[in-house]
């Protein structure tokens, strides 16, 4: 099942497709007998998109195909209308940070990023400055003259990100950029990725950790066992999963009063009580919110908190992948 919030791909290339950054049309990739991704059709127009799925789901395979490192076994994948595997020119517009840690440890961060900028086509006279700017953007100015061999995981991640942005690409592919970094670095890197998105760049960020993606964007592509399970806005996706009721938690002084007001409604699937709160499961969240508001006003209930535990990636991911999100 693929839940799509955008229209399906038309058979012919429409103007909308022509302007899309990425178009994947029935794209599959096998590694011998092992399936990487299967029959993926997807169109990315811009913004920050989270590529979400457990380890081995096919996220890195899809990212590598977008980065021109892998060729689809079947189907077509284009970036800015061209094959990134065959077309060197389109790779100038791509910035890629791999998920692995291996890099040229003998070099300093500045040497590595300068070299990568040069190899991306930045003129020699400008490459050093571009590398310094990229490292500064990633908060690495103080360490840029140190060799990578002695870097922590967080510093390596920042350096990798700097290699991806140094040539000022408009499309960034960041494969697990937050893996293994400490909480403070994580917050910092998230902010910097958000800034890249705000600067108009198209960013694809993969992760198997739900809250990492949630902190970055609400636009997601959920991949599981090589297949796209869902795409679009996480809240809209949640509303499409009608077989899984939407939960609303109301913390208040008289939970039973709210429960009584909602008990007879057709859209209400289940009502349960927690300490100082009532949890309502409904198939029509908007209607339910209105009725809760009415009940609160009518009964004079004092509400201390109203939340929807389902409105996060964790819930969506668990719904879509069964046990995948609970690992």
């Amino acid at each position: 099942m693929t839940l799509a919030l955008s229209p399906s791909l038309p058979p012919a290339v429409s103007p909308a497709v022509a302007t899309a950054v990425v178009v994947a049309d029935r794209c599959s990739k096998w590694y011998g007998q092992v399936l990487g991704v299967s029959d993926v059709s997807w169109r990315l127009s811009g913004g920050i998109v989270g590529l979400l799925g457990p380890n081995g789901a096919g996220k890195s395979t899809l990212i590598k195909m977008m980065g021109g490192l892998l060729l689809p076994s079947r189907g077509v994948l284009t970036v800015h209308g061209r094959s990134p595997f065959h077309d060197t020119e389109v790779r100038r517009r791509i910035g890629y940070a791999p998920e692995h840690e291996h890099t040229w440890d003998e070099l300093t961060a500045l040497e590595l990023v300068t070299a990568m900028a040069r190899l991306a086509g930045v003129a020699a006279a400008r490459a050093g400055r571009a590398a310094e700017d990229a490292l500064a953007q990633m908060g690495m100015t103080a360490a840029m003259h140190r060799r990578i061999r002695g870097f922590s995981k967080g510093m390596r991640q920042r350096t990798k990100l700097a290699t991806a942005i140094a040539h000022d690409p408009d499309f960034l592919l960041l494969d697990e950029p937050l893996t293994g970094v400490d909480p403070m670095a994580r917050i910092d890197i998230v902010e910097r990725i958000k800034q890249l998105g705000a600067a108009g760049k198209t960013v694809v960020v993969s992760s198997h950790v739900l809250y990492e993606i949630e902190a970055l964007t609400s636009d997601i592509l959920v991949i599981y066992r090589g297949q796209v399970l869902a795409e679009g806005n996480v809240f809209a996706i949640r509303s499409l999963i009608d077989r899984h009721p939407h939960r609303i938690r109301v913390e208040c002084d008289r939970p039973h009063a709210i429960a009584a007001a909602l008990a007879g409604e057709d859209h209400v699937v289940r009502i349960s009580f927690e300490r100082g709160a009532v949890v309502v499961e409904t198939r029509e969240p908007d209607t339910c919110y209105d009725q809760i508001a009415g009940a609160v006003l009518a009964a004079g209930v004092a509400v201390t908190a109203l939340s929807s535990p389902d409105n996060n990636l964790g819930a969506v991911f668990e719904y879509l992948t069964g046990d995948g999100g609970r690992r």
Partner: protein, 232 residues
């Protein structure tokens, strides 16, 4: 970006070669290669100190061993590790022609291999008390190192895992084939190098030069074709 360099242009190859040299000078390979390159010097020193008659022909045997080792240590390891450790993902995602990656490495590493190999040969002759070796032997050896480096690069692209060990194995087999008294020896890099250097008794250099070029050309073509389709 307004100023661009052409993918696969000399500027890109220069950049790749520069990175390769920088990494080489900061790693262990140069020291290990340097120690191996001293093998002919060691052999000549032992012969000289024991007052045995010095023979350049015998000294050339250790240079043939180096022909099996030095390209593998530098070129085989560099190309193989780049692919095996996936640092190539940084390169493949750049707007550069893939053959340029191989080209950049070879431009940087072949001179190092030639200098160490031929330098060891010259120094060995000096230590052994002989006059300077003939120019033909130096040029022949240099051509052998160039050809072997290209062969090793091709093998390392096709089989990156344990690239250095495999290429050493290949060259040891080549040494054996090169010593066979049949026309089979014509297929051996080591035999053709000996012929070019003037140690087979045949003064002709055209045939060995062509043979080296053909063997190296075949493996280079294999490497370039493979690297164009390589996925990481």
């Amino acid at each position: 970006m307004t100023e661009h360099d052409v993918p696969g242009s000399p500027a890109m190859i220069r950049t790749l070669a520069g990175i390769t040299v920088k990494r080489l000078t900061r790693g262990k390979a140069l020291w290990i290669g340097g120690l191996f390159a001293a093998l002919p010097v060691l052999q000549a020193g032992i012969v000289h100190s024991w007052r045995f008659a010095f023979s350049p022909r015998e000294l050339f045997v250790s240079s043939m061993l180096l022909l099996a080792l030095l390209p593998a240590i530098f070129v085989g390891a560099s190309v193989g590790e780049e692919l095996e450790e996936r640092t190539s993902t940084y390169l493949w995602s750049r707007p550069i022609a893939r053959w340029a990656v191989l080209g950049g490495k070879l431009v940087a590493l072949i001179p190092v291999v030639v200098v160490l190999g031929v330098g060891g040969w010259i120094a060995g002759n000096e230590v052994g008390g002989s006059a300077l070796p003939s120019l033909a032997s130096c040029l022949g050896l240099a051509a052998g190192y160039v050809a072997t480096s290209l062969v090793v690069a091709g093998i390392a692209v096709v089989v990156p895992r344990h690239g250095m060990a495999l290429t050493i194995g290949y060259m040891l087999v080549d040494l054996f084939v090169g010593e066979m008294p049949f026309s089979l020896q014509q297929l051996a890099l080591t035999y053709q190098t000996r012929a070019l250097a003037g140690f087979t008794g045949d003064p002709a250099i055209g045939a060995p030069l062509i043979a080296l070029a053909v063997i190296a050309g075949i493996w280079t073509a294999v490497g370039v074709l493979r690297i164009r389709r390589l996925e990481v």
